[in-house]
């Protein structure tokens, strides 16, 4: 059984391309070209060079000694927080901007929730000298002022999504509408492993550099390529998809996906899609989705703006449905306490998204010989205001 995408764009029963006909030519152009273009040696050379010299890859696999001693197991952290722009998001935007250029596109659009993907997109647009428009929910624009300022400084135009709940899902709707209105010159850089096929697969491939490096680094440090446990947080799921990618079909690796429980899975204020979602269609993909009994998409909640997406990528929906990955949900409070703990035990201030992944250490027992890899997907600079408010710093 393969946990990767099939030729029709499905992961098990999840995925596909449920898009209006207006988007068909754009998505079809991408579907026909993404594998061909990304396999070209010139593409790979440019992608690898930018990841190395611009993003700062490979990111280290760091043995967290104090954490390991406390939990009596071997804990390694994949340091995506050290990527340029502060998180793994840029791995994908580098890949997609190179693809957009080869497709002859001159205008780039993106959606963003917390602003990390927006910043990563604005960054690569500045790098390539391309016009950049980022859609962001009106409410998120207010919540994430520093990232809005970063995008503007990088030369991007930030457009407020005023429809619906005025957050990430609405920003995604607006970006899709923009693409419908500008089908010829515009390329849409989606920020996660969501959306219509081929986006989930394409984004997973660009992020798969994370697991490729983990394999090489573990071999060097431990004499084996595979960890016993691999832990990552999941909103839409791009950092997790990248961390899991090369381990998906090796069942000796226990994959753990960490969702945001918000105030608690049953509180009505949660983003734990695997627990609360049902199969449905959002943003062109059939996947698990938080929705009303009538099929209206509901607004999720998490203290972490990067995890409050009402769906989850179709790869992850399939990992959940097949039992390949274990899904654990972590509350705001647990994640925030781990933000503080990791800062004070390892000198690493994590993004609140990533802090959720660490809370698994309190939820599960690991053996002293186990090798546990946690994807530290981003750093916490962007979350300082939230930490300040929460801990009254």
């Amino acid at each position: 059984m393969s946990y990767n995408v099939n030729e029709k764009g499905y992961y098990g029963e999840f995925g596909g391309a449920y898009i209006p006909e207006m988007l068909y030519p754009n998505v079809e152009e991408l579907r026909q070209n993404y594998l061909k273009i990304t396999a070209e040696p010139s593409f790979q050379a440019e992608f690898d060079a930018l990841l190395k010299d611009y993003v700062g890859r490979p990111t280290p696999l760091y043995f967290a000694e104090r954490l390991s001693a406390k939990y009596n197991t071997k804990i390694y952290l994949k340091r995506e927080d050290l990527c340029h722009t502060g998180a793994h998001k840029v791995n994908n935007t580098i890949g997609q901007i190179l693809l957009a250029k080869r497709l002859g596109k001159t205008r780039i659009i993106a959606e963003t929730g917390a602003g990390q993907h927006g910043v990563a997109t604005a960054t690569v647009c500045a790098l390539m000298g391309l016009e950049c428009i980022v859609y962001m929910g009106e409410i998120d624009i207010k919540r994430q002022a520093p990232n809005v300022a970063r995008m503007k400084m990088l030369g991007a135009e930030v457009r407020a999504a005023l429809s619906g709940s005025k957050t990430l899902k609405d920003a995604t709707n607006e970006a899709i509408r923009d693409w419908i209105n500008n089908p010829v010159d515009t390329y849409y850089i989606i920020g996660s492993v969501v959306g219509p096929h081929p986006y989930p697969d394409m984004v997973a491939r660009f992020q798969s550099v994370i697991s490729k490096e983990i394999k090489e680094q573990l071999l060097e440090k431990e004499g084996r390529e595979n960890p016993d446990f691999l832990i990552a947080c999941v909103g839409g799921g791009s950092n997790a998809a990248g961390a899991y990618y090369h381990f998906l079909d090796d069942e000796s690796v226990n994959i753990i996906a960490v969702e945001a429980a918000g105030l608690g899975v049953d509180s009505g204020e949660s983003a734990a899609t695997s627990a609360l979602g049902k199969i449905g269609v959002i943003h062109g993909s059939k996947t698990l989705l938080m929705q009303s009994p009538d099929g209206q998409i509901t607004e999720p909640y998490s203290i972490s703006a990067g995890l409050d997406y009402p769906g989850v990528g179709p790869m992850h929906a399939n990992l959940f449905a097949t039992g390949r990955a274990e899904f654990i949900s972590i509350t705001d409070d647990q994640a925030m306490q781990w933000g503080l703990k990791l800062s004070q035990m390892e000198g690493l201030i994590p993004a609140i998204e990533s802090a959720h992944a660490f809370a698994v250490l309190d939820e599960k027992q690991f053996k002293p010989t186990d090798i546990v890899v946690i994807n530290l997907s981003g750093r916490g600079d962007k979350d300082l205001n939230t930490y300040i408010d929460y801990f009254k710093l």
């Binding site: 596909g16 391309a17 449920y18 898009i19 209006p20 006909e21 207006m22 068909y24 030519p25 429809s163 619906g164 899902k169 609405d170 709707n173 899709i176 509408r177 419908i180 209105n181 500008n182 089908p183 010829v184 049902k278 199969i279 449905g280 269609v281 959002i282 943003h283 062109g284 989705l289 929705q291 009994p293 009538d294 099929g295 209206q296 998409i297 509901t298």
Partner: protein, 253 residues
């Protein structure tokens, strides 16, 4: 014969009107349909509101959001329409996004439509390929016509495929845009309208998106069997209320 096929055989240009069910008020649905028929409209698209209408511009997004806020659901709409065939005889089409239908259950949804006397469905985010593979048999079992969209970017090959899968009409999106974002047609659109007309498709074409008044209606129907007005009708409902339906339709033709 299905009411859609029958209507399209008439020797006239078809005026079809779209509105969001449950807007302006939850229980306006039946009266709007009855008034539209009385005013001489040929076909009605009843919008089943969705929280995330990707292909729609601000006007229909807002009327959908308001309709949901008013309490519209799939079941409420079916209940409102239960007796509609006692008073209305023109073709009725439900236009909505796929997820609410999926949650109702596709078979149940189709069954209910057939019971009520709905003639067809327009589901913008159900691609023709998925329909042909997974749902065509169910739709046909209940005598429902599924209507597909084409756009200026749709290739001739794909238009031929859509024509082969369709039995009713083809919904021609006038330009690369979401709903409600046009004002008048230029030569690019006319070239596209002509190109499609010259393809001699087996299904008649009805043009939608960007039709807002007599002028654009006449322009579109020079090349196609009919035209659909949505956002402009909703704006009129917002500004002038349900009482103004007759006046709005009379101004179109």
């Amino acid at each position: 014969m299905n009411r859609i096929n029958q209507k399209l055989q008439e020797n006239k240009k078809i005026l079809s009107i779209y509105f969001s069910a449950g807007y302006p008020s939850l229980n306006d649905t039946v009266q709007i349909i009855q008034d539209l028929e009385k005013s001489g409209v040929d076909m009605i698209e009843i919008g089943l509101p969705f929280s995330d209408p990707l292909a729609d511009g601000p006007t229909i997004q807002e009327s959908s959001t308001q309709a949901l806020h008013n309490g519209m659901t799939t079941q409420v709409l079916f209940d409102q329409l239960a007796a509609i065939r006692k008073t209305v005889s023109i073709p009725l089409v439900i236009m909505g996004y796929f997820n609410p239908m999926l949650q109702y259950g596709i078979e149940n949804f189709c069954k209910k439509c057939a019971e009520i006397g709905i003639d067809g469905l327009i589901i913008p985010d159900l691609p023709v390929d998925v329909y042909a593979d997974e749902y065509k048999a169910t739709f046909e079992k209940y005598g429902l016509k599924n209507i597909f969209l084409i756009t200026p970017q749709t290739s001739d090959e794909r238009i031929r495929f859509i024509d082969s899968v369709s039995d009713g009409f083809i919904y021609m999106v006038s330009s690369a845009s979401v709903t409600g974002s046009q004002s008048g047609f230029g030569s690019t659109q006319e070239d596209y309208f002509k190109r499609i007309a010259d393809m001699n498709l087996k299904n008649p074409q009805i043009i939608g998106f960007g039709i807002s008044n007599k002028e654009t209606f006449n322009q579109a129907t020079q090349f196609a069997k009919g035209a659909i007005i949505g956002s402009a009708f909703i704006t009129n409902l917002t500004e002038n209320g349900v009482e103004s339906i007759g006046e709005f339709v009379n101004a179109i033709r």
